[in-house]
Amino acid sequence: MTTPLLQARSITVRFGGVVANDGVDVDIHPGELIGVIGPNGAGKTTFIDAITGFVPATGHVHLGDEDLSDRPAAARARAGLIRTWQSVELFDDLDVVDNLAVADHRPKRFDLLREVVGLGARRNRERIDAALARVGLEDAASMFPDQLSAGQRKLVGVARALVSHPQVLCLDEPAAGLDEQESAELGRQLRQLAEGGLTMLLVDHDMRLVLGVCDRIYVMETGRVIASGTPAEIRNDPVVREAYLGTDHQEAS
């Protein structure tokens, strides 16, 4: 097997006395679409926060050859570890195109001197429009976030992540709030991105989505990984059935 693109080792997060992540190990290989499932409070979102640098955590994060463990969130994002937010978090003061442009552009030294005389870099419209087309929002380009529906905002968040030069893309509950049809469409899009070679980590409640599109799945409970494997293995894992599917069978089927 190839070496993992993203290696997260013994990630531990404590909030006061609560251990939200307790020594979580996750490997993601290039081109894989990895799912993380678990009941509410299992620590899935905390895991994304931890590896992307948004909560203080112990443990190690390697992206390719780079050790990101001690870097701040922005530096991890620049290295290619990109995330989306469950709460979307768009830039309200920028229109949709500029929400993407600001993520696409990578500043260079002394840019400012060129910019104040009007010779700054232009928006890379080709890349931005391609990302918008991918999520079906070509028409929303010049709208502001507060003019969009909740679902559209979510998709802008995904498009913004796509133009942020991701090596590994962590999606935090992208299907939350979407109806069944939209969720299925999202699944097709994710599968397509994976076929295109993008490496992704998908955290979601929608079991059908996660089991349906992911290559491998980690199951978390109370901050620990209790099982991992292919969707088929997870479906038949007695521990998972006991711990998660058993109690929540209605939702899962």
Binding site: A77, W85, V102, P107, E115, R160, S164
Partner: protein, 697 residues
């Protein structure tokens, strides 16, 4: 040794005043979540009220604009001299003066009314507004209160008769006035009272719950509104009481008492906006250190300390240390929802904008009389100052209350480099602006960790220190300092200072006016370009959402520092122009603390987040086009400062995008109406007309 103890005791009086202000700030914050920068101004207002009552038996009324004075002004155009009745300014209660106790009681009633007015008219309408709007409103309150006092009593400091027993006591081989000890005792009693209030009453419990989350107070059956109203009244009365008693120790002046809020808030920061005891203790200690500094500055071994300004550095140091030691920002209050910041539109038709400005300046400078050309020049410099605030406050959302202090650093460096070291013209102002940028970067270091009103406070205390350290230091600035004035700007032997190339049109010279105009247009173009560049978009992204910005790889700290640097560069440029304007010297009054406050006020009034707003702010700058119109045409010059402050509060509440946006919206409405009228003739189009933009002016 005893000498040191003596000075520490002497400082207890100032410390008690700081402590009372700190308690007032704390109570208001507990009850309403607002950090009231105007707390000192409230004390000042109450003290003036009392001393007027006690001395002359008159209650002065806040000025109410008299609509008739416009009629007088219009009549004045036609040479008529109308004198219409004025609204009374004083109400005589008892000729010859009110005794002490009734005087204090009436003053405290006035303070209570003022506190309620602050709540009902200013901070309640702003309860969901972003911190920027609240901070700006409190600056507006300071300006209104100060301008009121200046209108009624003039702005000179005056002595005040002591109220507390002022017999002297022998202590540590020296004489100490008893009133200081009395005051300290009173403040400690008040602290105990407040502690008991917060600890044992439902009001206190609700306030403590609300400090974490407004819903907490609601659950206790206390409406946040009633809670806030009571807190404001309590806070005002408390501060007013001690302010009245302490005024004899600091002399009465519109500015001195107002600015004492800076050390007071330093003490509240040390107490993390929680403990009354810590805030009171810290404030007392700061007062004592302040007096100790007085003593130390006289000692030969401390000669290296700057004689002027060292004392003012104490609050700055305390605030900065408090922020670093006691952790990050203020505890953020969980509120139901927070409104957005004003939009920062891109300028589309830059050519038209620049072209029309060129025409205005060319025609204006060549045709108009000296008063109007002077106004044009002042407005141009004011525009550059406002642009500097657009970058740092409008684009990145960081509140700077030190903009004129930074500009002054540029001015100061320009006079030194051009005057004494002979640095030639185009280089000297650029270097001065770069020095200002460096100063701005130093101030911005705390901005990496903090934001909102806390940052505003750091910048304000910086302005306070620099004002004394540099601009009021007779060794450095002013006529007595034997500094060489900077020579006029000149290129290829052609001089274009305000006093060069004079003709019959008088001072300032036409070439100087054009030079300032060119600098302003260049600054405008630079900021327009910045807004449209990737860096400008990053700045807006940081302003909108720092978490999201980090998640797409934007370095928040770097972006903020960059904004401070650019902003301070522009401020330094404006400072250099101001120095050239005052014949190559630094005019201390141009860079005083209050000018930094009004710079933010005027920039916000014009429109803090757009280039158009900066131009509007330039027009509104004191001594600029707006005040010349007010003075020369409407004859209402005396009202300008007051009007600025009042309009600022109204703007913060109703129209956070400023005058520029209001004009833009009005333009859109007119265009829409014209379009609509034309469309009436034709059958209705398929699409519905766009909803009418809301106009608030």
């Amino acid at each position: 040794m005893n000498e040191y103890l003596l000075f520490l005791v002497l400082g207890i009086g100032t410390g008690a005043l700081y402590a009372a202000l700190a308690q007032g700030v704390l109570v208001a914050y507990r009850g309403s979540g607002v950090v009231n920068l105007a707390q000192g101004a409230v004390a000042m207002y109450a003290a003036y009220t009392y001393y007027e009552l006690h001395g002359n038996g008159r209650l002065f009324l806040p000025p109410i604009p008299n609509p008739l004075s416009i009629l007088e002004g219009v009549a004045g155009w036609f040479g008529a001299d109308l004198s219409l009745p004025d609204i009374p300014t004083f109400v005589t209660i008892k000729s010859g003066g009110l005794p002490v106790l009734p005087g204090i009681l009436v003053s405290l009633l006035v303070a209570a009314a003022l506190g309620y007015a602050l709540h009902a008219l200013v901070y309640r309408p702003l309860r969901h507004a972003p911190p920027l709007a609240k901070t700006v409103a409190s600056v507006g309150v300071i300006i209104v209160l100060q301008a009121t006092i200046a209108l009624r009593f003039g702005s000179d400091a005056r002595p005040a008769k002591p109220i507390l027993p002022s017999n002297t006591i022998r202590l540590f081989d020296g004489l100490v006035k008893a009133d200081r000890l009395w005051l300290a005792g009173i403040v400690v009693l008040l602290a105990v009272g407040l502690w008991a209030l917060f600890r044992f009453t439902v009001f206190g419990l609700a306030a403590r719950a609300a400090a974490g989350n407004e819903k907490g107070a609601v659950l206790l059956g206390y409406s946040p509104d009633a809670l806030a109203a009571r807190s404001w009244i309590l806070s005002s009365v408390l501060t007013a009481f001690v302010g009245i008693l302490a005024a004899p120790m600091v002399t009465l002046s519109p500015t001195i008492l107002s600015l004492l809020v800076i050390p007071a808030i330093g003490a509240v920061l040390l107490a993390r906006f929680e403990s009354v005891a810590v805030a009171t203790g810290a404030a007392l200690a700061m007062g004592m250190v302040d007096q100790l500094m007085l003593l130390l500055l006289r000692k030969p071994q401390f000669q290296w300390l700057p004689s002027n300004g060292s004392r003012e550095l104490v609050p700055l140091l305390v605030i900065v240390i408090a922020l670093f030691v006691r952790g990050r920002s203020l505890p953020v209050r969980g509120s139901t929802d927070v409104e957005r910041l004003p939009r920062a539109p891109e300028n589309r038709r830059v050519g038209v904008l620049a072209g029309s400005l060129v025409v205005v300046f060319l025609v204006g400078q060549l045709v108009l009389g000296y008063e109007w050309r002077q106004a044009l020049t002042v407005s141009a410099i004011g525009t550059i100052v406002a642009l500097s605030l657009v970058v740092v406050t409008g684009f990145v959302g960081q509140i700077s209350l030190a903009q004129m202090a930074i500009a002054g650093c540029g001015a100061f460096f320009l006079t030194r480099s051009a005057g004494e070291w002979g640095v030639p013209f185009p280089l000297a102002p650029v270097l001065a602006a770069l020095v200002a940028a460096a100063v701005g970067l130093v101030i911005a270091i705390p901005a990496v960790r903090i934001r909102g009103v806390t940052l505003a406070l750091v910048t304000l205390s910086f302005a306070y220190a620099v004002d004394q350290l540099v601009f009021n230091n007779p060794d450095l600035v002013g006529i007595s300092a034997n500094a060489v004035a900077a020579p006029s700007p000149s290129l290829f032997g052609y001089k274009f200072g305000p006093l060069d190339q004079l003709d019959h049109r008088g001072v300032p010279s036409v070439p100087f006016g054009l030079f300032v105009g060119i600098m302003m247009i260049l600054a405008i173009l630079a900021v327009v370009n910045l807004r449209r560049s990737p860096t400008g978009r990053r700045m807006l992204a940081v302003r909108a959402n720092e978490r999201a910005a980090a998640s797409v790889g934007i370095d928040n700290a770097r972006t903020k520092l960059l904004a401070f640097a650019v902003s301070s560069f522009l401020a330094g440029l404006a400072g250099g122009l101001l120095a050239y304007q005052s014949a190559g010297r630094v005019e201390p009054t141009s860079f005083a603390v209050m000018t930094s406050l009004s710079a933010l006020a005027i920039a916000y009034l014009g429109g803090i987040s757009s280039v158009g707003g900066a131009i509007a702010a330039g027009v509104l700058t004191a001594g600029g086009l707006g005040s010349t119109v007010l003075d020369k045409i409407l004859h209402m010059g005396a009202w300008e400062t007051l009007a600025t402050g009042a309009l600022l509060v109204v703007t913060a509440i109703l129209n956070p995008e400023g005058i520029a946006a209001a004009l833009r919206h009005t333009g859109e409405v007119i265009r829409h109406l014209v379009h609509h009228r034309r469309a009436k003739a034709e059958p209705p189009a398929g699409s519905e007309p766009a909803p009418m933009p809301e106009v608030t002016a």
